[in-house]
């Protein structure tokens, strides 16, 4: 239905379908849905859809579908003026109804199962006085709200009344973004996008983007090497193998993406021994891990928001790889080494299990190295490879990764006691206070202070043994230009295409 109307519109560009000279082939992960409400960790929704706001190179929200906005402090009310003359990819006019519809789904639809709904909990009401104005009222001040207005807007006329989770639209999306969806070729393993000639802002230089769905990390590298892909995100080892090669370019982004070992306080072991998490940092040689696993493309981690513009408090870096110190600290905590070289306390061995997802080689390597280093120090961390995390199996933790590349408030739901994403049941009254304050504080400086304090407080009683922040190592063919590394990328190095309209390809 929807996409036939797309296809029927002839490509307003030169060259036949076979001409790949101005087509970017991107080797990405496997995809199942393209819907900004359901799928917040991928490049495609960002290309096809646009939101009221978007992030600029520095990770700050700027206007996109909205032209301007005002904020009323007293009533916590945002009033957005929308751009005029914007059309959906199928030619229908975009209007305030679509915005209202999308935010209604986000805040009111009971059946919607999305990880981001809690970001919009402060929204009280929405109205559209006219076709170009949207008024959104909050219950209290929310410092991160402008960030959350970046979510992509869905076309009401194509999706209303359907089950958002399973509708066919998710595989044949229609948006207002820079690229429009052409075809999802399952049998060929690719998703074809074409630039939106009617885009209201700068129309991209690259005519087509082909997103290949690849299920295997190393295949992405071989595809680059055999000329079947132009751009891919690789792990640092694979990326390194391209560095000597002149026909490729290595583009290394900074990301806010950390890897660490998250401990589950719901399990008995950590309820008893939660005080002994921080000390583990002393037993792990993070620099060595960064050097070996990441080939030096990353930094040792001490705080979850270390690379955030609000974070990076050096005084929170209280641990260092020092087995002597570790032994002393352990003794202080009451741990004694048993005959097998493993610490014991109150008749309990320092043994815990950690589940690790197997498809990412770096995760497995990091887990293995940590386990081996902890073992050498006298702590038995058992690594269990799983294909999908299993939360019911009683593992004591998991090898986690997360990123707060924009507002540090992204951690609110992770660390505040009882918050929606606090699945590890971390609880620290000081952290609760600080994060709540951070969310509802307006001045930037004050917020910065708050979050820096959060860093030190958290470091003393952490729920995650942070290991490293990864670099986002992209590799492209030589002729691809314009990638801008000022932007700090998110989890899984997502966001590389933030300025795709400026890219040029010359194959």
């Amino acid at each position: 239905g929807n996409n036939s109307s797309n296809e029927s519109k002839p490509a307003a560009t030169s060259g036949s379908a076979d001409d790949l000279s101005n087509t970017l082939v991107y080797a990405g992960e496997s995809e199942s849905t393209i819907n900004p409400l359901l799928n917040s960790h991928d490049e495609l929704p960002d290309l096809i859809f646009s939101g009221l706001m978007k992030y600029d190179g520095n990770g700050k929200p700027v206007y996109d579908l909205a032209e301007s906005s005002t904020y009323d402090d007293a009533t916590y009310t945002y009033t957005f003026k929308l751009r005029k003359g914007i059309k959906w990819h199928d030619g229908t006019d975009f209007s305030a109804d679509d915005v209202l519809y999308t935010y209604n789904v986000l805040t009111k639809d009971e059946t919607l199962s999305s990880s981001i709904t809690s970001n919009y909990e402060d929204i009280v009401s929405m109205t559209a006085p006219d076709q170009n104005t949207v008024v959104i009222k909050l219950s209290q001040y929310d410092a991160a709200m402008m960030d959350y207005f970046t979510v992509g807007i869905l076309p009401k006329h194509l999706t209303e009344g359907q089950d958002i989770n399973t509708m066919a639209f998710n595989q044949t999306p229609v948006g207002t973004g820079r690229y429009k969806f052409v075809k999802w070729d399952t049998a060929g393993g690719m998703i074809v996008l074409e630039r939106n000639e009617d885009y209201y802002d700068k129309v991209p230089n690259i005519e087509r983007v082909i997103y290949k769905t690849v299920s295997n990390e190393s295949t992405k590298a071989t595809m680059l090497q055999s000329g079947e892909a132009d751009l891919a995100w690789l792990n640092s080892k694979y990326a390194d193998s391209f560095r000597k090669n002149d026909s490729y370019k290595n583009i290394d982004f900074k990301t806010a993406d950390y890897r660490g070992i998250s401990m589950d306080f719901g399990t008995e072991f950590w309820q008893n021994n939660g005080d002994s998490i921080g000390v583990l940092n002393d037993a792990i040689d993070k620099e060595a891990i960064v050097k070996s696993v990441l080939d030096g493309h990353g930094v040792a981690a001490y705080s979850p928001i270390q690379l955030n513009r609000f974070g990076g408090n050096k005084s929170a870096d209280i641990y260092s790889h020092d087995l002597q110190k570790f032994a002393e600290e352990m003794a202080k905590l009451g741990w004694v080494k048993g005959s097998d070289g493993i610490y014991e306390r109150n008749g309990e061995k320092f043994h815990f299990t950690v589940q690790v997802r197997d498809y990412e080689e770096e995760r497995v390597d990091i887990a293995n190295l940590c386990a081996s280093q902890l073992k050498a120090a006298g702590v038995d961390m058992e690594v269990k490879l799983v294909t999908k995390f299993d939360w019911d199996a009683g593992y004591n933790g998991f090898l986690s990764g997360y990123a707060a590349q924009f507002d540090p408030d992204m951690f609110y739901k992770n660390y505040v006691t009882g918050a929606s994403d606090n699945t590890m049941q971390y609880s620290n009254t000081r952290v609760d206070e600080l994060l709540t304050n951070g969310r509802h504080t307006k001045e930037e400086n004050k917020r910065k202070e708050i979050y820096q304090e959060f860093e030190t407080v958290y470091a003393e009683q952490p729920g995650v043994v942070l290991v490293a922040f990864l670099d986002g190592c992209y590799v492209s063919v030589k002729g691809l230009n314009g990638l801008d590394t000022t932007r700090v990328l998110g989890h899984h190095a997502v966001g590389v295409m933030w300025n795709i309209e400026n890219w040029t390809l010359n194959k």
Partner: protein, 301 residues
């Protein structure tokens, strides 16, 4: 002279002289001819190496020598190191221990189940046979992985024995089919009928009459279950259903191949491969030798 002649022509009848055909003692070289001596030696070498892994290994196979990542074979690391600085040489011996025992154990389990099931089905009457074969076919079309997933969860431990058990329990269908058709060929031979008639019980018939008579024709299938079990183990390790990550096997070493390939570290790819191939080939030639010994007839072509 004439007397001698006459005595030679005297009638002596049966058994005058014991006549024995001259038996020649073959030389050692001749006796060893056609026997897989070479394979036996190599196999012994590898097996002993694995048994004495502790003595042979010069590094801890589980340790990460982060200062020596991706080193080519050298005086300290005989077979080089992988991308995390593990010593391939030590891993080979420890890994061989695991892989070979998994291969053999799975083979044993597959053989026991497959042969028993096949014999029962081959000997049973048409209806039961059809039923049993249908069941095997059905079981065969359920993805192994699903069954393994379930079994692993039920058993709840991950060690070599469990793994062999799980691989064995999902791998016997083809063997059962082949055994069944072999049994159907020999089940009406008179020696089976006679034994049955004499009141010999089924287990004894199976062990004494059936198995020895078809074992040579299933030899290759049985031997190749060793290799398929080893590669199943590596696939499972790869999927996280296999052995704990710190237990090394040739399979898990091989599954690093694609990574090593992109990093141009050939020793990580080639060396475990060679060990695996050589071992399996030696086992095969032993099996072949056994098979040959059982079919002495020459081709009529």
């Amino acid at each position: 002279m004439a007397k001698v002649e006459n005595s030679r022509f005297r009638k002596v009848g049966i058994g005058w002289k014991k006549v024995e055909p001259v038996a020649l003692k073959p030389s050692l070289k001749k006796r060893l001819k056609g026997k897989p001596v070479f394979s036996v030696i190599i196999l012994l070498f590898i097996v002993t190496g694995c048994l004495f892994a502790g003595q042979l290994a010069n590094h801890d196979p589980g340790s990460f020598y982060l200062q020596n990542v991706n080193e080519a074979p050298n005086a300290e690391f005989y077979f080089g190191t992988d991308s995390l600085g593990r010593d391939i040489y030590s891993m080979i011996w420890y890994g061989g221990r695991v892989s070979i025992s998994i291969g053999l154990m799975s083979m044993a389990i597959i053989s026991v189940i497959g042969i028993t099931y096949g014999c029962i089905s081959g000997i049973a009457n048409a209806k039961i046979d059809a039923l049993m074969m249908r069941i095997a076919e059905m079981a065969n079309s359920i993805p192994n992985l699903l069954v393994i997933l379930l079994l692993m969860a039920v058993i709840g431990k991950q060690d070599a024995v469990t793994l062999s058990f799980v691989i064995g329990i999902t791998g016997w269908f083809a063997l059962a089919r082949i055994v069944r058709s072999e049994v159907r060929q020999i089940r009406n031979s008179e020696y089976v009928l006679a034994a049955r008639r004499m009141g010999v019980g089924f287990p004894r018939i199976m062990i004494r009459h059936l198995i020895p008579n078809f074992v040579s024709s299933i030899m290759f299938v049985v031997v190749s279950t060793i290799s398929s079990s080893m590669s199943m183990e590596s696939t499972l390790s790869f999927l996280g259903l296999g052995l704990p990550v710190d237990v090394i096997s040739w399979g898990s070493m091989l599954s690093l191949a694609n990574r090593a390939l992109l990093l141009d570290t050939w020793w990580v790819i080639i060396i475990p491969g060679i060990f695996l191939l050589v071992t399996l080939n030696c086992i095969t030639s032993l099996g072949n030798f056994y098979r040959k010994g059982n079919t002495k007839r020459h081709s009529n072509l």
